[in-house]
């Protein structure tokens, strides 16, 4: 059974279309991430699931109930906001109990629920404080506590980590993942950070301009993006796009730095009817320094020459900007084996991991 089902959902303000036919589904206990650039409609979609925005057309099902016109409080959901939205004049305890108080839960049950959630999130010592006296990470925990205490069917997170500094964000990400494992609630998580989506979600919906581009597992989305938008959005540094020509059913040629054409053998033959001009998509980590040892380990490696324009060591890895015809591509190397600036390197490109796109439709071939 699916905990959340969205069918052909539309949202428009006047003539401005925000969501253009969304279909989405989350199975019970699943963690679904909605990811996309700002303005893609992901937060609007979340607000519609919560009932904070009206539905223009389409259906939203939570559990076995059509909730299109159900009040937010009756949808059996809980939400964590980007700004946390903690009630500033109430203590942490009052923040957590406010919902139960509004629904008339007896005092004893309230106290018990607060105790349970506070222990789970380790915020017992903060219960008497006000939100203004908490750090960003503590506020984040309290906001999650307020959501957890409802024991809802569906958890909604609206960019909950974007107000934290980089280190805390990574810590809280881990905590959210642990928490999800322990609590096992169906979760819909909105983020613009593709790393967050990759690390947390069991399935990711990549959105752009009001529609879902691809809805699949993180691995499938990373390895086999359905179009160039998904390929370019997921992964950092982004996937390299190299214009290429099909020279046979199993080989393509690309323009090298010196103006000559380098021929690369494809790992699998192209289907008949593929366009002559294609775009080769290759992730930076699938570009290596070519050696005979590499060739024996990865038979699908194709080689070509490229001068090194710039080297960016980040510690764990070294990124190198390589010249290829009149475009630059990025390769990711082991620091010990990294190329140096000015060197012309023989690249080994793992063609088994390459994606080919149609340059007109932008779709994966």
């Amino acid at each position: 059974m699916s905990a959340l089902m969205i069918r052909n959902l539309h949202k428009s303000y006047g003539s401005l279309e925000i969501l253009a036919g969304i279909d989405l589904e989350a199975k019970t206990g699943e963690f679904v991430a909605l990811v996309g650039p700002s303005g893609c409609g992901k937060s609007t979609l979340l607000a519609m699931i919560a009932g904070l925005e009206t539905v223009t057309s389409g259906e939203i099902w939570i559990g076995d109930r059509l909730v299109n016109s159900v009040q937010p409080k009756d949808r059996d959901i809980a939400m964590v906001f980007q700004s946390y939205a903690l009630y500033p004049t109430m203590t942490v305890r009052q923040n957590i109990t406010f919902g139960m108080e509004s629904r008339g839960v007896p005092k004893a049950a309230q106290a018990e629920a607060v105790q349970r959630v506070a222990a789970l999130l380790q915020i017992e010592q903060l219960l008497k404080r006000k939100p203004g006296q908490l750090s960003g990470g503590q506020r984040q925990r309290v906001a999650m506590g307020r959501a957890l205490v409802r024991d809802p069917k569906l958890f909604l997170f609206d960019e909950p980590l974007s107000n934290l500094d980089a280190k805390l964000r990574v810590d809280m990400r881990t905590e959210i993942k642990k928490l999800h494992h322990r609590v096992g609630k169906t979760t819909v998580y909105v983020t613009h950070d593709q790393v967050e989506a990759m690390t947390l979600a069991s399935r990711i919906a990549v959105m752009n301009q009001g529609s879902v581009q691809q809805f699949d597992t993180p691995k499938r989305i990373y390895d086999r993006p359905t179009n160039m938008f998904v390929a370019g959005f997921m992964g950092s540094p982004a996937m390299n796009f190299i214009p290429a020509r099909l020279t046979g059913s199993t080989s393509i040629s690309v323009r090298a730095a010196d103006g000559s054409d380098a021929s690369l053998a494809l790992a699998a033959p192209m289907p008949a009817g593929a366009p002559k001009d294609v775009v080769l998509g290759i992730r930076p980590e699938h570009i290596y320094r070519f050696t005979t040892d590499l060739k024996s380990r990865k038979p699908a490696v194709a080689s070509m020459q490229a001068p090194v324009e710039l080297v960016e060591p980040t510690g764990a890895e070294t990124l190198a900007v390589l010249r290829l015809g009149d475009l630059e591509i990025t390769g990711r190397f082991e620091p010990d084996d990294a190329p140096v600036m000015g060197e012309t390197i023989t690249l080994g490109i793992d063609m088994s991991r390459a994606c080919l796109f149609d340059p007109t439709t932008k779709a994966l071939l």
Binding site: A47, A50, G51, L52, Q71, P72, K73, I77, A78, M79, F81, Q82, S83, A85, Y87, P88, T89, M90, F98, G99, S102, R103, Q133, R146
Partner: protein
């Protein structure tokens, strides 16, 4: 290295302290006139008034010390007692009334009504009308012969009675209604600004938490804008205490002495009757009335700031 190179840094070093000194003096020079003026007009004249209130001044200030005689004769006067009682009655109703009306208007406008700017202008407009004009217009409205009473009677309710200003027991309420009309738009503007500054996510969170609209306002939104209540109250208290022109135009302190206010009384003593000493004493009592409210308020502000400093 030539001598030229040596001279330039030395000259620069000499020039810099002078410029720096000027830089540090500019704020003092700019602020000095206003600091001096407020010191003289507030503290010196307050102390001077205090001294005159203890003197036997009549038409002109004289400096024969008579102790608290002026205060005794002031408090023996029935008209002053009425004025002082009126001040508290009026201030209380005025502040509570205009805040309540202003808050309701602000909440109503905050519901995303159509033509919001027009409503805002309409409700804020009375503030642009001077107290004299307000007083005059409302005195016509209250006038039984050609005001609201005459209008309603003209519609057919011939025994309708609305003559607040004609009765010495109700005249003060006529003043209160008028001043609420005048100033609730101002309270509305401040409250509306406050309501607009509340994070909309808070309201959404309360909605998901299942709180009703009334409960959301009472428990979440209004506590968040509590500082605005204080700001409105403090601004209106000082309006209330110096009320003069509105009453002068609306009721002239009457009927009888029923709507006399301290400010009217002070004016009367000082400029009509030539009793500067007793007038100064009345003025000091007005200062005391302000102090009763503002001193605890500022102490509370200081205490709160310290408490916040402690908690970080």
């Amino acid at each position: 290295m030539s001598t030229h190179d040596l001279i330039v840094p030395a000259a620069a070093a000499a020039a810099r302290p002078w410029r720096e000194r000027l830089g540090t003096m500019v704020p003092i020079l700019v602020l000095a006139p206003s600091i001096a003026a407020s010191f003289i007009y507030v503290f010196v004249f307050t102390l001077w008034t205090l001294y005159i209130s203890l003197s036997n001044s009549s038409l002109l200030p004289t400096y024969g010390f008579v102790g608290l005689d002026n205060y005794a004769s002031l408090w023996a006067n029935r008209r002053w007692n009425i004025a002082y009682t009126n001040l508290f009655l009026f201030s209380g109703f005025y502040i509570v009334g205009s805040m309540a009306v202003g808050l309701l208007l602000a909440i109503a406008i905050d519901q995303r009504v159509r033509g919001e700017a027009a409503w805002r202008t309409i409700f804020l407009y009375p503030l642009a009308v001077s107290f004299i004009v307000t007083g005059t217009v409302w005195s016509w409205l209250y006038n039984p012969v050609d005001g609201i009473q005459a209008f309603v009677r003209g519609l057919g309710w011939t025994d309708f009675s609305f003559a607040l200003t004609a009765n010495r027991n109700t005249a003060i309420y006529a003043v209160i209604i008028t001043v609420i009309w005048q100033s609730s738009g101002f309270a509305m503007a401040l409250f509306l600004a406050g309501l607009r500054s509340v994070d909309p996510d808070l309201v959404k969170a309360a909605q998901i938490d299942g709180a009703s609209v009334f409960r959301t306002y009472r428990r979440v939104i209004l506590p968040t804008i509590a500082p605005i209540f204080l700001a409105v109250a403090v601004i209106q208290i000082q309006f209330a205490i110096k009320t003069f022109d509105l009453v002068a135009a609306l009721t002239r302190g009457g009927p009888g002495v029923s709507t006399t206010f301290p400010a009217i009384y002070v004016y009367d003593l000082m400029f009509q009757r030539g009793q500067i000493g007793e007038g100064a004493a009345a003025a000091m009592m007005m200062l005391a009335a302000v102090a009763v409210v503002l001193v605890p308020y500022s102490l509370w502000i200081v205490w709160r700031r310290r408490a916040e400093g402690r908690n970080g």
